[in-house]
């Protein structure tokens, strides 16, 4: 059963899988755009080289987020298009069907995640690092994989939720922004949106994994 769901999901998402697999492979290679040879000859200071590599590496969490969104929506999109009639007429409990879809979508993210790990390993092996600088390809790959899974799970949850639930979430977020705007207009310092953002992006907030340094090379 899972094999068929995975096969169908692959057929639906294979273009996205291909695009993200290429991007994920290219991203770590781009972090060595700033050549370490120039560091060794004194042309570029180590700190500046690391900063450059880190800036390019900042694209990696963005990729993780995009991957989560595209694959999270894609895992449920075929059923949404059919207004869930086929899905609901299946002779399996609904939680089982949701798990099948989740599993199939999550399984497909292993292609881009794997290609990012491969890209990291190749990038790390391709350069002779300056003294005191280390490469962290496996750690970056694992972190990327976990970030993708978190984003995928969040978006998948929103995708399978009822319209009412989604509107409820959007309503809460909109209400917060509105509260900020109104408080700002009244001359009050508002921290509603800021607090919300902090809660989401600092541990144990679900998006905290996307924040911080995504460096393939570090001291």
């Amino acid at each position: 059963m899972f094999g068929q769901v995975l096969r169908a999901q692959w057929k639906y998402s294979r273009a996205a899988v291909a695009v993200f697999t290429v991007l994920c492979f290219a991203a770590p290679l781009a972090t060595v755009y700033y050549r370490p040879g120039e560091v060794r000859t004194g042309g570029v200071p180590v700190s500046s080289w690391l900063l450059g590599a880190e800036r390019v590496g900042a694209a990696i969490p963005v990729l993780a987020l995009l991957l989560g969104v595209v694959f999270g929506l894609g895992a449920w999109a075929p059923d949404t298009a059919g207004r869930h009639v086929y899905a609901l007429a299946m002779p399996v409990p609904r939680w089982h069907y949701v798990l099948l879809r989740f599993g199939a979508g999550a399984a497909l993210t292993t292609f881009p995640v794997g290609s990012l790990v491969a890209g990291c390993l190749i990038a790390a092996a391709a350069v002779t690092l300056p003294e005191g600088v280390h490469a962290y390809p496996v750690q970056l790959g694992l972190r990327f994989g976990f970030a993708v899974l978190v984003c995928f799970a969040l978006i998948f949850t929103l995708a399978i939720a009822t319209r009412r639930a989604v509107l409820g979430v959007l309503g809460v977020l909109g209400g917060m922004v509105m509260a900020d705007v109104l408080l700002g207009a009244a001359g009050q310092e508002s921290v509603v949106t800021e607090t919300m953002f902090r809660l989401l992006t600092t541990w144990p907030g679900p998006l905290s994994i996307l924040i911080g340094r995504w460096a393939l090379f570090d001291v």
């Binding site: 068929q4 609901l88 007429a89 399996v92």
Partner: protein, 297 residues
């Protein structure tokens, strides 16, 4: 034993539509035609039976399983052809069959292969490129190969050309002749159901107007032309569905008519001038008119 049973099933969708205290009883092995005009609530009833929607109140039992609590058990023995195609358009015919078959334990791949040949289906064609008729045949193929105990077909031939319609109905009847499958088939095409159904239920504006064997439905509804009829009738040996005044006499539409009942008119002081046999479609239309006039709709 009943394959489908609903008790006082009520469902409301906004202000405009309501299914009211629906009590359906579909016997095992029956081919049950669920008739009704567009918007009567046929599709909604089917969606409730299969747990695709939740009723406001009432009980549903499908193949002995309580719906929606054990709906997946009922669905494991049920083949469902919806009103609109819902299969994944990016799959090929072969892939759609393998996908579908993975979910039903008793799916008969050999029979599916036979049906592919019988219907002349292009196995490597993507579903997005299938014609409406081919899609209708594929839906029927999938549910028949499940070898279900219950088939629920929501206007399965609607919009199909006569050749495809015949193919689909022939396959359905062939399958039914192999076992004791119960078929619940909704349609507004009265003549189509007349040929294949042995029971009929008529739904109008969310209300079950009648539910009876097809032969009773076909034979029992008559249009009578009556003169000098008393205004108060008292007990009648037939069911008077509709009574209309014309300039010279009255038109009655009755159910449960039998020839010896002509004597009743003599006793009542009325004169029966004509008894007109109604075909199924006319009977259906008259029944709806009668239902609407009595319910004040």
């Amino acid at each position: 034993m009943l394959a489908i049973e609903t008790n006082d099933l009520t469902y409301r969708a906004g202000k405009d539509f309501e299914l009211r205290e629906l009590c359906l009883k579909v016997r095992e092995g029956a081919i049950y035609g669920f008739l009704g005009p567009n918007g009567a609530g046929k599709t909604t009833t089917i969606r409730l039976l299969l747990g695709l929607q939740r009723a406001n109140s009432g009980r549903i039992s499908v193949l002995g399983h309580d719906v929606p609590r054990h709906v997946h058990r009922a669905l494991a023995e049920t083949g469902y052809v919806p009103e609109r195609p819902h299969l994944y358009p990016y799959l090929t015919v072969g892939e759609a069959i393998r996908y579908h078959g993975a979910f039903w334990k008793g799916f008969d791949h050999g029979y599916a292969g036979e049906l592919i040949e019988m219907f002349g289906m292009p196995e490597h064609q993507r579903l997005a490129r299938l014609s409406k008729g081919e899609m209708g045949k594929l839906h029927m193929l999938l549910v028949l190969a499940q070898r279900p105990k219950l088939l629920v077909l929501d206007e399965p031939t609607d919009g199909l050309d006569p050749v495809v319609r015949r193919d689909v109905l022939t396959a359905l009847l062939d399958f039914c002749s192999q076992g004791s499958t119960t078929v619940f088939i909704s349609s507004h095409l009265v003549h189509e159901l007349e040929r294949i159904c042995d029971w009929v239920g008529v739904l109008d504006r969310g209300r079950l107007v009648t539910e009876l064997p097809m032969h009773s439905f076909k034979q029992g509804i008559k249009r009578l032309r009556v003169s000098r009829a008393p205004s108060l009738l008292g007990d009648t040996p037939f069911v008077l569905l509709l009574r209309e005044q014309t300039p010279f006499d009255e038109i009655w539409v009755v159910r449960g008519w039998q020839a010896p009942m002509t004597q009743w008119f003599e006793g009542a002081g009325a004169e029966l001038k004509e008894v007109v046999d109604l075909d199924l479609e006319e009977g259906f239309v008259e029944m709806l008119r009668a239902s609407r006039s009595t319910s004040g709709l």
